[in-house]
Symmetry: C2
Subunit: 403 residues, 2 copies
């Protein structure tokens, strides 16, 4: 029986190679003046920034440009809001990776609130601030230049403060789902190999965690499987030998936006519960943290699923079957016989480990994590929506394996 | 390669048995005063109207009730707008079958326009009026009591004028997608067998047409397959021996909302192109028109797909494979070998014919269609988004088969 579920709104999606040419016309739906937020210089170097401003101009839309680099911090959001709160901004257009889109999402949410009472975004961060946001925002158009976080379809923006008292926390509201997600795979063609790999592993993590989540529903399941299929046939290609293969880049862009939709509706599990704690303590790309944790966390989860628990056996065997289904699909195989559940569940784990090697994902120690950090990191990690409980000790083992 | 596509917004979906209890809290998000639109007396007889008004009351929401019966006409919409345009309406809550939800959708669209300039909805109907609606509307909560049209997730409202100069045309805008779709399968438990059957066949048509549409994309494909799976295992049960089976009713409610999402994003094909013309000429439930046409139209389509056309062969064999995949899934089988394409394509057609018999769908003649009407109806029928062209003569044969 289909259990009760809710499914939040999704953005109006405009997907396809060359669709960036529509940015002017899409922006003009909201008004004649936008705040264009971009990342470092990669967009400019690829010649795409000129294309975007020309399209805005052609659509009769004026713009101010704001460039941000690195992970978005609450301070950066606050100063952008201070800078632009008295300007006429009909929409925020955020063009970049997950960090840039999250930054744009937070700015679009704070331009309205900030205007009226000058509060810091920190006051609205989950687990940090104490205020609830009412969801009012300046319209947001999100344009990803990597295939990874799926921020173009999610309702939260992750902001970070790095260090011993660091955090990686979200400002979140159903209304923060971007109004438009404009996804042009051509924008990802020049994405460097290590970014492509880490972002792709983030998307894969999000798809798998949504599929195994206790909050999964038939709509997220259907979308997840189409996303895994797309990632399975393209991630290794775009990250290694065929970075300029537009068909494969298009598949990855599809997998990424779908991973954003499913995570927004089914939630994330243990991998993100650990990865976000690592990200709050060390200067590590989010995708690299996920890629490090995914293999050992999925292996540990599969082991736990195999342990007999009275009353939960049927539920657990359903999740094991999902492991098998995902493993087969990642290998390009559409169906699995129930008798092959074990074989294909193992294949999923093996594939994740093999890809982590193939993609040269740097180990956690590379980013400064030491053995002495493990106990603290494990104690802070969350295990929400995960299909089985994993003990503190288990989380420590996961972290140690990737030191 | 994934081809360019757009995907419109979908409503915030609240799905599950008993979820009608949330109608007060969901309405209160929009204000404290709603226009509650219901159909004939069936909701009241089932005791559900009291439950709804009690929930509104508990949420602190006042309401005016408007009951409508039969297919919604432009005149009915205009008089409702005239009656309520000076009232404070924070949201329209439409509880009923496709007709009631479409009526509510049109009223929510016209309450705003009507307020300012008193125009008739007819002026905005595609192919009838000449004005474009700008999408501004009073927020809409759609609550289906049948599993069929998927109007709770679509962006158009179909209005009808019946007779020789009759029509069945839509007012349509991306913004007309309901803000909330509240889907409580318990509301469908008392739906009569013939309505259940016709509505279910409508949902199935919508799923199949979206799947075979030239505008299908990986997101609609993924959702369609989950919908066909749900309809396949429940339509015959709820329409014949097990009308009170909540699990099967839940599956049908899922299939219906998904069919609305996919039709809104992939469009409809030949079956609806013919059925809407029939509906404009005769007083026939929309689902019954679809059910009559679906079998012969799909058979004719499969025949046309098998004809060799230089340059189109690969595309056609892909669609044939989709016929097979749908046929297998409707029979509860998750996968098909490519070598079995013919067998399972035939199975799809056979299943549709068998179900049309099993469900006792009255033939078109029952609703007044005569042999002499066929030529005119065929000449008016549309064939948009359909994977192969079907000749005027072919459409006449389809109609004649179900006279």
């Amino acid at each position: 029986m289909i259990l009760p579920f809710t499914f939040a709104s999704i953005p109006h999606i405009v997907f396809g190679a060359g669709s960036i040419a529509k940015i002017g016309e899409l922006s003009a739906r909201f008004g004649d003046s936008v705040l264009l937020i971009t990342g470092g210089g990669s967009l400019k170097r690829a010649g795409k920034l000129d294309e975007i401003t020309a399209a805005l101009h052609a659509g009769g839309v004026g713009y101010a440009v704001l460039s941000v680099a690195g992970e978005p911090s609450p301070d950066l959001v606050d100063s952008a809001v201070a800078e632009f709160k008295n300007e006429k901004i009909d929409a925020v257009v955020a063009v970049g990776g997950g960090s840039v889109m999250d930054f744009g999402k937070a700015v679009s949410a704070m331009l309205v609130v900030g205007k009226t009472d000058g509060l810091s975004v920190t006051e609205f961060l989950e687990g940090v601030g104490t205020r609830m946001h009412d969801g009012t925002k300046v319209p947001l158009i999100a344009v990803p230049t990597t295939s990874g976080t799926g921020s173009e379809a999610t309702k939260n923006a992750v902001l970070s403060r790095i260090g011993a008292d660091g955090f990686k926390k979200s400002i979140r509201h159903d209304n923060f789902v971007p109004n438009v997600a404009l996804i042009d795979p051509e924008l990802t063609l020049s994405c460097p190999a290590e970014v492509t790999a880490a972002c792709g592993m983030d998307a894969l993590t999000q798809l798998l965690e949504s599929y195994f989540s206790t909050k999964a529903n038939p709509m997220t399941d259907a979308l997840v499987l189409s996303g895994i299929r797309a990632v399975g046939k393209s991630l290794i290609a775009v990250s290694t030998k065929s970075p300029r293969n537009l068909s494969a880049r298009t598949s990855m862009a599809y997998g990424a936006v779908v991973s954003g939709i499913t995570l927004a509706n089914a939630g994330l599990g243990l991998v993100h519960g650990i990865a976000s704690v690592i990200g709050g303590s060390f200067d590590i790309p989010h995708g690299a943290a996920c890629a490090n944790i995914m293999g050992p966390a999925m292996k540990k989860t599969l082991e736990a699923l195999k342990e007999g628990v009275p009353g939960a056996d049927e539920e657990r065997s359903k999740v094991r079957w999902r492991f098998a289904r995902a493993g087969a699909l990642l290998a390009g195989q559409e169906s699995v016989r129930e008798s092959d559940t074990d074989e294909y569940s193992r294949l999923l784990i093996e594939t994740i480990y093999r890809w982590t090697e193939l993609l040269d994902i740097p180990r956690l120690g590379t980013y400064g994590m030491k053995g002495r950090d493990i106990e603290r990191l494990a104690s802070l990690s969350e295990n929400k929506n995960h299909p089985v409980p994993i003990s503190r000790e288990g989380i420590e083992q996961i972290l140690r394996e990737r030191l």
